[in-house]
Symmetry: D2
Subunit: 344 residues, 4 copies
Amino acid sequence: MDKVKVGVAGYGTIGQRLADGVALQGDMELVGVADLAPTLSIRALKERGMPYDLYLVEGAERAQFDALDIPVAGSFDGLIGKVDIMLDSSPGGVGLKNKTLYEQKGVKAIFQGGEKNEVADVFFHGYANYEKGLGANYLKLTSCNTTGLIRTVDCLDRECGGLRKVAITIIRRVADPGDYHRGLTNALKIDKAPSHQAVDLMTIMPHVEATGILVHTPVTHGHIITVLASGKHKISKDMALEAFARQPRTRIVSIDEGFLGNASLFRYARDLGNPRGDMYEVALWSDSIVESGDDIMYAISIPQEAVTIPETMDGIRAAMRMQATREEGTQATNKYLGIGKWRK
Amino acid sequence: MDKVKVGVAGYGTIGQRLADGVALQGDMELVGVADLAPTLSIRALKERGMPYDLYLVEGAERAQFDALDIPVAGSFDGLIGKVDIMLDSSPGGVGLKNKTLYEQKGVKAIFQGGEKNEVADVFFHGYANYEKGLGANYLKLTSCNTTGLIRTVDCLDRECGGLRKVAITIIRRVADPGDYHRGLTNALKIDKAPSHQAVDLMTIMPHVEATGILVHTPVTHGHIITVLASGKHKISKDMALEAFARQPRTRIVSIDEGFLGNASLFRYARDLGNPRGDMYEVALWSDSIVESGDDIMYAISIPQEAVTIPETMDGIRAAMRMQATREEGTQATNKYLGIGKWRK
Amino acid sequence: MDKVKVGVAGYGTIGQRLADGVALQGDMELVGVADLAPTLSIRALKERGMPYDLYLVEGAERAQFDALDIPVAGSFDGLIGKVDIMLDSSPGGVGLKNKTLYEQKGVKAIFQGGEKNEVADVFFHGYANYEKGLGANYLKLTSCNTTGLIRTVDCLDRECGGLRKVAITIIRRVADPGDYHRGLTNALKIDKAPSHQAVDLMTIMPHVEATGILVHTPVTHGHIITVLASGKHKISKDMALEAFARQPRTRIVSIDEGFLGNASLFRYARDLGNPRGDMYEVALWSDSIVESGDDIMYAISIPQEAVTIPETMDGIRAAMRMQATREEGTQATNKYLGIGKWRK
Amino acid sequence: MDKVKVGVAGYGTIGQRLADGVALQGDMELVGVADLAPTLSIRALKERGMPYDLYLVEGAERAQFDALDIPVAGSFDGLIGKVDIMLDSSPGGVGLKNKTLYEQKGVKAIFQGGEKNEVADVFFHGYANYEKGLGANYLKLTSCNTTGLIRTVDCLDRECGGLRKVAITIIRRVADPGDYHRGLTNALKIDKAPSHQAVDLMTIMPHVEATGILVHTPVTHGHIITVLASGKHKISKDMALEAFARQPRTRIVSIDEGFLGNASLFRYARDLGNPRGDMYEVALWSDSIVESGDDIMYAISIPQEAVTIPETMDGIRAAMRMQATREEGTQATNKYLGIGKWRK
């Protein structure tokens, strides 16, 4: 079978990781990436020797790139013309504009969480509704928090006899490492409830009632979410632990091992020598799991920069009908990304 | 009636505020404060002109104080001999040692949350179990988080037909403003669950099952707690709001008014010209309240430096039998501290 | 002599403190403050019982204030008509617009550092160029960093035989306590050199060559500046210490006393019970002073919220010719603000 | 020529990078690394498939490693017996104890900056005093700040006619990314002057007078240092820029390119796909360079985790007499580490 040809629009924090992710899939080919200006990320691409071809979107000034000796492979239109599917990680709102171009060329696309739901036919999560994405032209991924959250909620739902409702508290980082665009200094900031992540979860898993409160906190190394899940039947700590152990993209860690918080996970990913110090798995603390009556409470950590990459690969597989089922699709992604290698 | 004579041991973050609190009670007299070394707080007391008499605990070097022209009124023993009740806010563990001195002199004492429960006869909260403290010799206050949390949980329990269980997420500051002793930089840190605050809540309110997860966050302006409360009957958002409006030490705020997070509360208290920029009330965001099935979820902010002062005043009232009931005791405290003035 | 009548435009972080400062001057009368919207600061003014009359600037919606039972004394025009001089701490740029109103009414005004220099006749500092402000109609204050910096540089210049040049490094806070408008998380940010504070210093003290580098740091409790000062003759550590000891708005502190950094100063000001936890003095660490060849190096901490208040009071004194000399003007300000009380 | 056999003691933040650095040197062989406990870094080594052999130091509990299926190659003694030279990055103080073992086996060693100077025969910097290290048995590296600082100061000293003195301001991070051991929240902390880095610089470059002030700041992504350098003759901005351009381990960056601060450098290193997101070069902002009379002022950023790796490799080359001169030694290190590839 021919490899599926993939392009990436927007070579920023997410776009770089999407490109790296596609490059690792044995059954896909990364045709190139597109961007507007010689950002630090593009300068780094140049310094790395241009492992990916660069295309320029409309509005880019070619002279800026020439002045820096950054090779340009062509225009955004040219890139779209060469691919089967685009991964769009442009700044929020631009994806919707790009969609017109994709439609003109008859190219499928997957949008990231920053776009409005209306941009896509299906709001997608590899584990929760893979089948809905089969053959779809336009998918939208859940945001980083929702993607990681649903991995664990979908897992409990399937493995523990069905869930009725969840109530979440999201303690979210306000900036990525190296980010100067947003900030918060010595302050917690609260959003109006319910948080959009809870609402989004209900869109993907309509049979579960969800609500929650989100608090911004001045850190950069990932979000922590606490989840209170109410099942149709009592869920014990042991039941939950066994269920989570079967979720490939959920890494079970503990304070005793030395995982003291979100920053330990970032350090560990760097110590692993992972590219960019990234981690695809959410971490779930075994020593955070407690029973609350018949309900179960636990905490996870979300590596916000990389967590949506696997589900986006799942999305390509579904949209292109590369694998027909949730199990096959996610397993193929996991294999190529090396997810689960840590398990004995 | 003679004023009740009160002393304060340990003139640190809490001790200063206890002294200020007692000085405001029209039916109490602050005899003096005791400490060990010429800390910044003691130097500030000197610069203020010694509004409170200073006594030295064992181990203090008198010459250090003399060299700085800081007047000394006597020894710790001397202070104990002049009071009816001591408020002990010494560093953790010292209170237990001091207790021997209190017992020798037949003086009552109230210990802060840093001491072990065993130090006291009663683990006390002004609203939740005032009557248990009546006439007791040794009380221990709940910690700052637990004190503020119980205000709202006790309120729902009394006003909404009884609670069955609560599940909390504590997002706690790691240092006070101006604190160099503890810290955390760009990292969230998680504790083993359940958090001690949930366990403490059950000690004070044994009929409510409580559990929770605590996450440390690198900020200084107070904790934020989210609470998921399950009643014996459904609790609607309106029911909860009406109940909270009747809790005098709970200030209802909203994001729309400009209270964006814990730091807004600190700023507001400074704008009010409150001494030290302190606030006695917990803040409860009306726009954080959401229903989760029959349960109710909400978020509060805890001003960690001052929140336990009113309940400590309540404790004096109970231990000294100044007022016989929860209503009378807490109302007297509120009147002298000016709590509730903001209400129309 | 009649008291000088003063109004304040803009009741934000600086405006509140200007109002408090004027209220403390025995020879001035605070007529009122003006603002646009019921901010948290205005709500706090209401909760305090309206110690200052409130006037509304153009564009304010009276109904918003009425709905909150906030008394309004009149319009901005009305306020201007009642005063001799306005202190303008409006958001940057608005002061220039307001100036037209002041000119129409023949009212003097002092603008804060956020306005462009062109707004005023004189760029003013109470210690460095008081005489230039005598009788002037429009003064502009130096910014918080420059105000504090000049106190120490002017002092060395006068007391140590004249300065040739200074090179400064400014480590600046990015937000005030309680500020959600600006931020920076886990990052230092550098500005293009030279910093405007160095340039401003040369405008005020044209005989001293100044340059410097500014680095933003994610803290809220004040700036720290290191200064390398080159005199016409060698300046020893002892000479510098003796000079600084004669600068009334410079508080000499040390690490040994417990002043570990900028946050210690904030804590100390709160411990002093100062309104809002403010401090007017810059702090200068005696144990930071080191000799570099014939030059002298030292570090100061700038309490950014309150530091410009005394020099603004000086400005009123100069513009209104209340005192004829630098010595008399600054001494009057210091007396009313209680500056220097800490000295033995 | 046989490859030089190298071992690493202490597989923490620095030890991991030393091991990686040695593994990249074509003329060295990494025999193995030694540590005490199954830390996160050791667990990551296991998950990576044990690219480096692990030896256990005295006090390690073998059973802990067996329980985690972590292969152990032997004892610390065994490792020492197989190498020509040890790189010791043990916790401060342990290196001195280890030195006895090295002496017994007649093995050379290089200690990191945390050890006291007395541990070594020579206090070493690859560019400033390579020749002093030739054939030495025990070297001690300068600390991260001093290492990066000396690169630029030595460069100016050699290229601009000699330096007389430098005055530095160090704005230092308090923790590494992922570090929970140290912290500081919303506070700057100042050390007694002069900073040890200035003193250390004079030890390495005794002909230059150095002093400075150090301020701790709550960030994790590297230190920023401002330097005021006084030459024997005037140093202009152009002279400085040309000099720095010839320093291979100093990367010239600018705010206009997008390097806004220390965090931009960390992000860029991650974007480059560098292992662990590390960077060996210090960054020097071209738009920070300003003239102060005849002196020159500039700012650099220090990547604290990796900056000492190249100079440690230089140290091996000097101690083992692999290259006889500063130029040859540092060039060999640079070639193997890929330093300078970014230059056109």
